[in-house]
């Protein structure tokens, strides 16, 4: 199955793009804030400037009007002073008239100061006020002289001076009128300027409102085109994905929205790929697949299952899962479903399935629960094991055939060859006897090979059965020694047994098989005239049986391996010593099935001790060993 490269690449790309991403959306948002703000600042600045200008004009007008009022006051005083001077000229010239003149002119200096203050910014007007002040003071000084002359009785001199005063007063009034006209003109200009400023303010406010509206519309358009309409595409695509509709084209640009859209599209591609992979797997897998809800209702099935059970597409919709199986005793729909869950949960179990036409077939069933939010579901995998069952049956028949049909002729051959080799059929020549011995040896090898293969077959199928009983170890040892005695004699090996009264709980034939195998190996690998001995120990609840030889020993690295199938210590004289390589593996399986263990201690070059443990009998009995074997 290919690796899910695309998904991985999509994620990787997304990450890298994210690292390089310019925050364009932030720029757009800044623009949305900055444009109205800049305009508002400009607008407020313009308004403030116009207001300031209007205020200044207003202030100037006010001062001009004040100055005009003061000039009018002075003018009236001058007119009054002129009348008083006329009385003096043509009247009695008494003192009260002088005092009146002084009263009339007394406030003029303060009025002048007021005018000077109001017109302080106008240099030309200030000069005129200064001249007026100087001329007025000169006139008052002449009046003082007139007063002195009147006091001294110089009437002619006084009259002369009074005429000068009159002239001076006329001149003063002319100056006042000129100044007043100038001030009035100034005030009118300022008034006009104020009006103009006010008008401009109105214009600016109206334009500002209009421009604000235009800016708002433009920003709305900009936001819509650049943000909301593009976001809407992304949102619409999420809905379209959920509704299984084709997606809209990708959004343009290079901002976060475009990135979001790209990541979303990549995700959709990855999802689609995962979905297609899942679909391909589900539809093409050779096993039947079912998804059922927590109550056993079938939610989904794959084509293999429909074909296996002979249903048409959709034929399993709304059915209960128990309808696919042959009910066991006392089962109803609910208990059948709960039994399936109990037996097949995460492990394979066998069950008889029932097809649409009522035909039954054996299936291997396994079940895996899973949750989607709060809802429980079960995934059921069904394998049609009809073929496997048939193969198993054929294999069983074959094993049975080998067990019986092959053994009988082999026995005939071996017994005959032994009889021939031992001279029981009458004396034969030495070459014939030699050949008969060789043929006998090969028949024995062939028998061993068949037995080993059958044992291995049983071990693999878990059918290695034991017929355990409390048995005397001495019998086991005796039988084992009997079996290998001929071979030992032939090899020139001395066998040393041991006496014991230990009783173990074991299968006697299998125990003998282990002992014979170990003794056979020991004899095979011992040097001529060597000794093979059996040593017995008791350790905790186990008997430890040891077969010691004086052979070449087992290299350390091989000491575990030799108990695996087809592993043998490599030998130089391999032809002579070879076997199937299954013997020790079978011994290990037999010993372990008894609850014991097996191993080898060895000093390379000076011999090995193969040992194994067997559980001692648990309850002591007084039955003699002889009775056990007698039957």
């Amino acid at each position: 199955m290919p690796r899910p490269l695309n998904v991985a690449r999509t994620q990787h790309c997304g990450y890298k793009t994210g690292m390089r991403l310019t925050p364009r959306l932030l720029h757009k948002l800044l623009l949305l804030v900055a444009v109205p703000l800049a305009f508002e600042l400009l607008f407020a600045g313009t308004l403030l400037s116009l207001l300031k200008s209007a205020e200044t004009a207003g202030d100037r007008e006010h001062r001009a009007r004040e100055a005009v009022a003061s000039l009018n006051s002075i003018y009236e005083r001058i007119m009054d002073a002129s009348k008083v001077a006329g009385f003096l000229l043509f009247g009695s010239g008494k003192t009260p008239q002088f005092e009146k003149f002084h009263d009339v002119t007394a406030t003029i200096p303060s009025d002048l100061d007021n005018i000077r203050e109001q017109l302080r910014d106008d240099a030309d007007a200030s000069q005129k006020v200064d001249k007026l002040d100087r001329d007025l003071n000169a006139t008052l000084r002449i009046m003082d002289e007139v007063f002195d002359q009147m006091q001294s009785g110089d009437r002619m001199g006084a009259v002369q001076h009074l005429r000068d005063v009159k002239t001076a007063l006329v001149d003063l009034s002319d100056q006042l009128i000129t100044l007043r006209e100038s001030c009035n003109k100034e005030a009118d200009e300022d008034y006009d300027q104020q009006r103009a400023s006010r008008h401009r303010i109105y214009t600016v406010i109206e334009s500002g409102i209009l421009i604000n509206v235009i800016i708002a519309l433009m920003l709305w358009l900009y936001t819509h085109r650049n943000i909301t309409s593009r976001l809407a595409v992304v949102i619409a695509n999420t809905h379209r994905l959920a509704a299984d509709k084709p997606l809209l084209p990708s959004v343009t640009g290079s901002d976060e929205i475009q990135h979001l859209d790209k990541v979303f599209k990549d995700m959709v591609v990855a999802l689609e790929m995962a979905r297609e992979k899942e679909r391909a797997i589900i539809e093409t897998m050779p096993a039947g697949l079912l998804i059922v809800d927590g109550r056993g209702g079938i939610q989904m099935s794959n084509p293999t299952l429909l074909k296996m059970l002979g249903y048409v597409s959709g034929g399993l919709d709304f059915k209960h899962v128990s309808s696919l199986f042959v009910k066991e005793k006392d089962e109803d729909d609910a208990s059948c479903f709960s039994n399936l869950i109990e037996k097949a949960n995460r492990r394979a179990t066998e069950r008889i399935a029932q097809g649409a036409d009522g035909k039954t077939l054996p299936v291997e069933l396994s079940l895996t629960p899973f949750r989607v939010f709060d809802n429980e579901y079960f995934l059921l995998v069904l394998l049609d094991v009809t073929e496997r069952k048939e193969i198993e049956r054929l294999k069983q028949e074959f094993v049975s055939m080998v067990s019986h049909d092959l053994r009988t002729p082999l026995t005939s051959i071996q017994v005959f060859l032994e009889m021939l080799a031992k001279g029981m059929m009458g004396q034969v020549s030495e070459p014939i006897q030699k050949k008969a011995t060789m043929a006998d040896r090969n028949a024995t090898r062939l028998i061993g090979l068949i037995n080993d293969l059958l044992d291995i077959d049983k071990m693999e199928s878990g059918q290695l059965e034991l017929a355990c009983d409390d048995i005397s170890l001495s019998t086991v040892i005796e039988r084992s020694l009997d079996s290998v005695k001929g071979f030992a004699d032939k090899q020139g090996i001395k066998l040393v047994g041991t006496e014991t009264d230990l009783t173990v709980h074991a299968d006697p034939d299998r125990l003998v098989q282990v002992m014979v195998n170990l003794l056979g190996n020991a004899i095979k690998f011992s040097p001529k005239e060597g000794v093979v001995s059996i040593v017995l120990e008791k350790k905790d609840d186990f008997a430890v049986l040891k077969v010691c030889d004086q052979g070449r020993g087992v290299p350390e690295k091989m000491r575990t391996q030799i108990f695996e199938r087809f592993k043998q210590v490599e030998t130089k004289d391999a032809t002579e010593k070879k076997g199937t390589g299954l013997g020790l593996a079978i011994c290990k399986a037999i010993v372990e099935q008894h609850g014991g263990s097996i191993g080898v201690d060895s000093v390379e070059g000076s011999g090995s001790t193969f040992w194994f443990t067997v559980p001692l009998k648990t309850v002591p009995t007084a039955v003699p060993a002889a009775e056990l074997t007698a039957h």
Partner: protein, 125 residues
Amino acid sequence: MANLLLVDDDEDFSETLRDLFEMQEHSVMVAATGGDGLSLLSGNSFDLILLDWQLPDMPGIDVCKQYREQGGKSRILMLTGMRDAASREAGKAAGADDMLIKPFTLDQLLGRVQKMLSEAGEPTA
């Protein structure tokens, strides 16, 4: 010198064993079917019966069972290729005294026969 009955359908096997036992100076009768075996058993007395596991007309254990049901006391050695515990139990239950698994060596056969003949004087289980 003992009277032996061999019930086996394999002619070569029967002949080899008959030759062997006759060399041992035993008297051997041979039957090729379970039915023949049972009829020989009903009319003769044997010290040891060697009975094949699988016969053409009936399983060896059925022969064994019927013989025991008829009150036969002779010792029976079943010759079988079946090495599993269930078969062994079935043989024992049918009344066989011992079982020898094929293929066996000459020594194993002679040893077992000798042992059973020496025990033949004792009451059977």
